[in-house]
Symmetry: D2
């Protein structure tokens, strides 16, 4: 099965992964986790919501934590478009192709459009946000893992092919992908708009759900440091996957779980994917080095536990991957 071709003249200009809105039980606990331990910056706290950002970010928020009585879900992910006029073009396009969408007012953001993608995932688009101070050159405030900026989201979903076709039509390009060894079924796609390996990732699984959101750290030393901090605080249980290097994207990583079970990745750096002649990299499903070039298996909890989208039912993918491969993924 051929992988979907990107639309090089998309109907409107999506520029990057922008923000994620998570529901949580206790804002103080979330503040402690993300700000005190991991090193994100708090821009604002309202009665029921924490607005956080990375040290490089001028946007008001990239991680939004909303207090909820039914915590542990994801309200929606946010993508940035370039200009407000792109929102109008998006509205027209979604109406034309029958994608549900509507205008909404969102605090601290400019004009915002909500839509649901073909797998039922809720997404919002905006071009502008209130501005905050970038702390990229205030090294005295770089603590913990001091993430620079949000980078991407990974979502298991029922139909990877459908998701990929939808976003390819919106101009997303595939940087890397995984399919069955006989190339007949697509298992996962790494899709990008901002010129590095990924803004959004879809993998076959029970979805739509959020596997993790990722923020970029300075370098491998910083990733080791934040893991050491967490370990020496006696919080090793929140290390959901220990540091290693992904084959896909070639980034050093560590994954943490927050008090509500949401998963965040710190990764070090990516390569550039801008040129028209840059072809996707294929990883057959049986090549488990895509997950760790060191051959370090993931845990079942890293693999299968995810955050559902608020009020959205999940469905099992028709192609979860071969059982043998999964066993190899987890060690035995």
């Amino acid at each position: 099965m051929p992988i979907p071709t990107p639309n090089y003249h998309p109907p409107f200009n999506i520029t990057r992964a922008s923000h994620v809105i998570l529901t949580v039980k206790d804002l103080d606990a979330s503040y402690n986790h993300y700000v005190e331990i991991l090193g994100l910056i708090q821009t604002e706290r309202t009665a029921d919501t924490l607005y956080l950002r990375g040290i490089d970010e001028r946007a008001h928020h990239s991680v939004v934590l909303r207090k909820s009585n039914a915590p542990g879900t994801v309200d929606r992910i946010g993508l940035r478009v370039f200009m407000d006029e792109d929102l109008d073009k998006a509205y027209a396009h979604f109406n034309e192709i029958g994608t549900p969408c509507r205008w909404v007012d969102v605090p601290f953001q400019g004009k915002t459009l909500h839509f649901e993608d073909p797998n039922g995932m809720p997404v919002e688009l905006c071009a502008r946000m209130d501005q905050a101070e970038s702390l990229h050159d205030k090294f005295q405030h770089h603590r913990g893992g001091h993430p620079k900026a949000i980078d991407h989201f990974q979502m298991p979903c029922q139909n990877v092919t459908l998701a990929t076709q939808f976003y390819a039509q919106l101009g997303f390009r595939i940087s890397e992908y995984t399919d069955s060894d006989d190339e007949s079924q697509l298992w996962g796609t790494w899709l990008q708009r901002k010129g590095n390996p990924h803004d959004i990732v879809f993998t076959a699984g029970k979805g739509p759900a959020l596997h993790h959101f990722a923020m970029q750290s300075k370098d491998a030393s910083t990733i080791m440091h934040i893991t050491d901090v967490v370990g020496s605080m006696g919080l090793e249980d929140i290390i959901d996957r220990q540091p290693s290097r992904h084959g896909i994207g070639n980034a050093m990583f560590v994954y943490f779980r927050d008090p509500d079970g949401h998963r965040m990745e710190f990764y070090d750096a990516h390569y550039q994917m801008i040129d028209i002649d840059h072809e996707p990299i294929r990883w057959p499903l049986s090549n488990t080095k895509r997950s760790s070039i060191w051959g370090v298996p993931a845990s079942r909890r890293w693999y299968f536990e995810t955050s559902p989208f608020t009020g959205v039912e999940r469905h099992q993918s028709e192609f979860p991957g071969e059982p043998m491969t999964l066993e190899k993924m987890f060690g035995s």
Copy 2:
């Protein structure tokens, strides 16, 4: 004086700084410098030309070294456009505004357009290149400073305002800029298309000329390592500016001079500049921390020695900066 406003609907799509063509005296000496010591990768060597690239790059070349009897000059810098159709749009646009341009055949590149910018700098545009293997995930071949990819070019020129207006019209955005303390005169502009702080930089000086081209290194440790390698080989004279951190762009850097005097910067990382609401950062000329946040002065040779463009006469800028400030730049 207000800084030029970027054109958000440019006539064609330039995507990034792509390559530079330098003239050299001795290909073996250049190979030794760039490949054996600094860690670039050789893609191809013809009778009179070396084609080099960074470890992440799939493009055939980002640094081209052409043997010449009059070495030490720059034939031209190359910018990438997204698609071949952008070249046709560029050709039409340049003809419309009276910018000299012409189609040329260039080995290992797709369709290529040459033009001269308002300061007389020769530039070439192409969308495609022959493809080479990316070594981003072949760590065994990461040697010396193992630069990932080319990032930007810095050019002194006679008229910074004119250059900035020209490239802003082509869609370049200003990330940071330096002007006189009274804001009446523009001294330097850092311009970008690919979403980080700069693809091309113009500063007031004797030009057009190339001050340096820059490639991205993995991290600060790598920058220290390549400086240590050069120092322990007894080649400290080629360290043109010792490692420090720029205020502008916030990158750790080191500068080396090649056997023909061309200057290359290794830097560690940049921030992202993608959003419409991301405003340029201003640095008054008297704030010398723009050059080093550690307060480390540059040398006069780093400041004033440049590579002229082949066959292009240089003219002194009308606004070289205040003498007092320059003294502060060099230490005393």
Copy 3:
């Protein structure tokens, strides 16, 4: 049970862990592993033996690989004494306490004394070696994991208490130790002479045998790099334990297995233990963070596979540790 008290007026002056002599099947394969991949330096190769050292070392050898028809064993470990006169004092002391010892001629070493410790482990002592060039300031030769110098040896043995008493009598101090939760049985001791956490380590197990020898790397970045190199060469099977940080000694580590199954650790740095008032750190056996502060379990093969000493029978320890704890060590 109280831990043994060090003898602050030892009969002779042992200064540090010095070298190890391993038997191997194929010198070329060993050369490829240790020199080409891991970055040790070859000092000399004779008909049947490779002599290797770290980049900081002036001593002729710290890792000796002897070709053998029965490879995969350890001929002996070597400790350095300060002066030749210490060898004479050692000879007198061993004769006095009934420890088997004898003078031997060893190529490239000064006067050398062999002895067998109470668990039957063969050890050699010398004060001098032929000298080689230190490459500590030749950064151009730092490749792979470029270990600085040998640091310590870890040995499972039948009787940890007996071993600890013997070496404490020779002036070794305990930096850290593991015992049963009720403090009744000693499970492992980390012993040092050179002022950092350990030169020799004894743990309860089937022994005497060598679990690993360790060399110091420059920093965490270097440890990540050598692991990336091994992974990207497709050699992930030789990564015997992925990078993490030990609780005991507080060092970042990675373990590799050589073609004959010998295990080498790279670690980043240690703390200093010099002062008389520096007390040992206790780790109850059930606290598995002693092995990884990140909570990363070891594999069974890392735990149980060891290199026997050539011609020395191994005996199971009387206190291997509680089965429940061991399960926790390996994950599930």
Copy 4:
């Protein structure tokens, strides 16, 4: 002139550089500098004194700051001996050779002996200190440059040869030294007891005075980070010498000046010097790479400004070095 030979059977056992007592004007300002910015740990604050230590240190203090109306001086440097019995041996030895010494009571220290060395430098010896918690494995408290432990002191003095002979007699070994190009005059000696390149350093100059004390940082990344922190706080004036790598000792370094002008070095790592056959490294005075292998000149203020010892007159060395070489040292 031959360099002094170490006494391998010294009259008592000095183990390492231990602590320094500095006079300061304002304890709050000193606290802000050393604890808040540079990352040392405060053990205790009394009415007139701050007691600080590194993150690895269990000793109560390695940097002592005493409030004084005549600040900017050094009360004395402290060396550690192994056992209290070494203090008695020291007392006997000093009396025998006519070195002025006396017993004193010092808070938070065990039995303490004061003496004055041949250049008039005040030194104290002790074997024991009150113990504090080591934070080596509490990564959440590693801030700024988070120095691990004190390492060495550098002192200009009137007579380098005399100083070297005195300390060599006490068992100090020379790791590296600088002399005139014709080998007739000794200019500087790097002397050690703890097995790395230096505990105390003597150079020809106006002395006795303290040029700097040095603490070990984790790695080069940490040294860059603390320099970035200082620069981004607008405190670049306290960067007394920017990061580079010394030829002597082969360490990456940065030097800061405190509010009273005292100079502290952070350096990354050293090699081991333990073996009897480890010969000193010679650096002719004209080889300025001993100061920076990158060829980065020092400033005059780094070179000539020092902290005098409280109440001790300074005298100019008879061999300050050739003027030509000094010019080369500073660039000009």
